[in-house]
Subunit: 79 residues, 2 copies
Amino acid sequence: MKAKIVITPKKAVVDPQGKTVRNALEQMGHQGIKAVHVGKYLEIELDSADKESARRQLDEACHRFLSNPVIEDYKLEIE
Amino acid sequence: MKAKIVITPKKAVVDPQGKTVRNALEQMGHQGIKAVHVGKYLEIELDSADKESARRQLDEACHRFLSNPVIEDYKLEIE
């Protein structure tokens, strides 16, 4: 089983990395870019067969350890 | 229009960040985690209406600037 986690800065939080990428793209001639948000991506390979318990476990891990819930949102997908 | 880019280290490349996350999860009591891969996630908001030209532009940007094609793979989705 594979879990995919995307962690992004909350919309209200300043994202200097995203701004830098946006400016760099613009300077390289890419037009029409309104905004860039930079986040983290985690792919976790799991041994477990129980999708629901895996989701519960990873949800807790995301909240407590993998993301900072004050400034970041996360999205967890299990397949 | 929104583009989502996921950049991950190639399978053959050592991923110390992923190993560290794996060990940390294990020490926090999460069992059955085989492997963790850590990558980057970019969300790009575009002004353009032409999906195909946006894809071409961003594909080139991914290859030349946003990822390091020697050690990283990228996946580009436009919606």
